[in-house]
Amino acid sequence: MKAAKPAANADQRGDRELVYAARDGNMPAFDALFYRYRDGIFRLGLAITKDPSAAEEIVVDTFARAHRALARLEPDDSLRPWLYRVAVNLSYNRRPRKNVVLSSLDDAAGDTFANDEASPSLLAEQAELRRIILETVDALSPKHRLVVVLHYMNGLNLAEIAQVVDCPVGTVKSRLHYALRRLRTHLAAHPELGIEPSRPLLATGLRAVQPITAHLPVEDQ
């Protein structure tokens, strides 16, 4: 009986072990790293370039660079920030191809949004809200948009984002705060999102304290 092909994420070894194995010429170890991070890098490239074929080229170029840098690569805990940093640099250095109309983030989402249980009107409403939010994210400056994309799309925490963008964690916090404040200003016109318009500070200070209805999301530890 023919052995089944191992799954993409079947290799349970950590990044450090896989890097050391790939350094010794073990190509399956390098393939395991590729399968582990290709989707995240693809999504990051897609969010920046908005071109799926360019995003795939970024994935290939990122791992080609990683393979060439295996000898001097010293992953402490995770290879992910290093790979994402290379991918971000490649994405921003890539010039948009001619005769290619870049789509927005919403178009880059493609047909993956599907929910058979929701009604068509609800789906249309959700799609419209998503379009508004992603267009607002698109309107941010590149460094603020990158922080938002890395956190909300790629799921990186603030420390990892700081490694990717090569700046202190405090700067990442500040950029994220600024980006969310800009989003709050732009999205306040849509009451269905539950975001109240910005209030004058003096009025804010004189207002009575309202009970907090929104609780912080609890992370799975």
């Binding site: 795939e56 989003l183 999102l193 907090i212 999301p217």
Partner: protein, 189 residues
């Protein structure tokens, strides 16, 4: 003191708390502060709302995948480098390369030396040779070469008879015909 400082200094921490950048006790500290600060309470509520909206908006993008295979990376890397052989196994290749270089250098030097002409002034005058002069003074045996040679001979050597011959004008010679005297030494052998 913050320049143009306005509002509560805890506001930025609300965003950090929502983004998961605080520890549990720091987060509870922010919550406790927000319960007493209206500005931070609003900021926290809005941050949570925006966080939820962004999470939902990016959900379809988070499910985007690619079917790229690692073979594409190998193609991009090019052929695998050859394994390093020992120094003694590489020695013949080094000598062969040296031989190639020396042959190529010789060909280039030969081509350069043959293509460059020596300056005319540098030609040394050949020494006088009686034998060469003798053969040079001998008329050629072929007719056309002989007449050409004869025409190029000095007048005193050719007997000065050539200039005396004129073409006839009006059916008769304008000068008296003289008998051509050929130098006996110039006759063909």
């Amino acid at each position: 003191m913050r320049l143009f400082g306005r509002g509560c200094s805890f506001v930025e921490r609300t965003t950090t708390a929502v983004a998961g950048g605080l520890s549990s006790w720091e987060r509870s500290d922010v919550e406790k502060h927000a319960s007493a600060c209206a500005e931070c309470a609003d900021a926290l509520r809005d941050a949570v709302a925006i966080d939820v909206a962004l999470t939902r908006a990016f959900a379809p993008l988070r499910s985007r995948r690619t079917m790229l295979a690692p073979g594409r990376v190998r193609v991009a890397l090019g052929p695998a480098p050859e394994e390093r052989s020992s120094r003694w196994l590489r020695a013949p290749a080094v000598f062969a390369r040296l031989a190639e270089v020396s042959v190529a250098l010789g060909v280039v030097l030969f081509a350069v030396s043959t293509s460059v002409e020596a300056p005319s002034g540098a030609v040394a005058p050949q020494p006088h040779s009686v034998i060469r002069e003798y053969f040079r003074s001998q008329p050629p045996t072929e007719d056309i070469d002989y007449f050409r040679w004869l025409r190029l001979q000095p007048a005193e050597r050719a007997g000065a008879a050539v200039d005396l011959v004129r073409l006839p004008v009006g059916g008769r010679f304008d000068v008296e015909q003289v008998e051509t005297v050929i130098n006996p030494t110039s006759t063909p052998r």
